[in-house]
Amino acid sequence: MADEVALQFSSIGFRHQLPNPKWYNPFNKRQGAGISQVDLTLLGGQIIGLVGTNGAGKTTLLRMISGILPFKDGHASKDGERLEIEALRSMVGFMPEQIRWSGQQTIRETMTEFALLQGCSIQSTEEILSIVGLRNRSDSSLESLSQGMRQRLSLAVALLGTPKVLVLDEPFNGMDPVAIDAFKRLLRTLANNGIAVVISSHHLSELDHLVDTIALLHRGQLLGHGTIESLQAKLGFEEMTEVVLNREITDPIIDSLNIIEHSSTGQEHRYIFDSSHPELLHVLIAQNYEISTWRILPPTLIELLCAATGLDRDAIGMDVGQSSMIPLRMLGGEEE
């Protein structure tokens, strides 16, 4: 089941309509930010991490994948056949960011309601509640749920109707580390069962050891999609190495190395080099340095975005929230 194409999106686009009242037309709208010309293939069993800064268009893209927002351009297809919006919705389970479930309704009643909306059997709700660990709370009212339980309920609703694709918008928000870990393991299990998972986050670290591929989104455009290694290679990243020692390096070998960052705090000296440098390791061992850390550093989201867009760190930061969509440098240095 893995690697089978679950869904394919071709050149999809959407622009938000923002109120722009005029004296002659108080309901006048103008086009705001959105998504432009995104091509994305979702494979069964694969977890895709959708990353980007605030306002990059992650939620908009996820809503399009879920069939909530209409495609102004492009289309979704499965096995080469164009999908209507209802067919798309029936294939995708969507978990929005932080649902504030409230009311006197119980979890079981809520699941029954969404099972009816989904068109799946009501009996399946019990099984799904077991999967997300809420079966023994199924008679609890929504008011009494903690944030973590609300997230689990949102996931349970998304799993109704055995979706081919699971779309999760910032699912770790408000969850404690233990719950995050359990959630990640659950997602991996679901992926192993052939479900394609798309998960958004503005923190790459949250997606560590979870996602198979990364999709980089900025200003509504998909700048690149692939494994972290392939993105690094395409963007020309070299592996960076962090080394923490008990004293400063005085050996002449230091002159031949490219130090990206160096900081000292008391007895701790931290270096970041642009590659792994095994010859340095030999020297440090030979000279009895105490090496408390030696690790390969993954690129940060900012670094990946800077490399993909050609913008510097300040420009990326100030860019958040811009409603205009201008062509950006795409992967491989091409201009769109």
Binding site: I99, R100, T112, E113, L116, L117
Partner: protein, 276 residues
Amino acid sequence: MTPTQRMIRLAISLCRQRMFSTRMLIMLPILLLFIPGMAWGFADPNLQLPAEQIPENATETMFLASIGIVFAGTMAAVLIAHDGISRDRMNGVLEIRLSQPMQRWRQGTVLVLGHWMSIALPVTLLIVASMVLVGYRSDMWIQFADAIVFIVAAALVLLWYTVFALLASSIAKEQGSAIAFSIGLWFLFTLLWVLFTTLLAALNGVAVGDTQDQGYLIFEGRLDLLSPNGVYHHLLETRLDGVQRGVSAFVAYLSAIIWTVVPLYFFHRRLNRLVP
């Protein structure tokens, strides 16, 4: 289970939630006071009304008591449905609903049916109770056909206000706007309409001060077709003798159909284009 069966089940579930909500508990005394309370008052054999209007049968008594539906019933419908969509938008549940494969028109119908039934059922029970009270107190029993028209007309006016409130709720981005829009509309049709009618009549040279003036009555009757409360009263008047307000029963029924179909059409169109 067929899609229609699923819709009905969802509507019943929504109706149950709304009917047993705290909001309904708060409104119940108002409904009791305005519907059976008014019927009890108008059924008083020693009743003295302005212009020496004395109800001659139970249908006329119920017609007078229908003001309770106009004031309390429609307000309750607005208060029940004003956050039917905006509440889900605020807490994020709307996103999940909109991502479900059930067609939007079906989801819209569930919303309308659920909210409408939650107010129409208690109001219908109170209307039946009112009819019994009128019969008990004045010894005049309403005819079956009149009772049916009375109940159906009340159900229709509640439906119209429910749809207005849901439409407002779908447009409003937050609760305040939704309630302002819904209550504003209720206020216009329930309280300001008389002023509006009088003003227009005066501008058209009709004798406004004389409520018995036939020209004024006909003008008011025709203008009432533009108000849901007016159409509601026209429907009730089809069962009264000697009412001449320039609107035939056919026009009243046609207006009722238009007031049902047009807002529902706009609501479904709105829901089809709804984004979180």
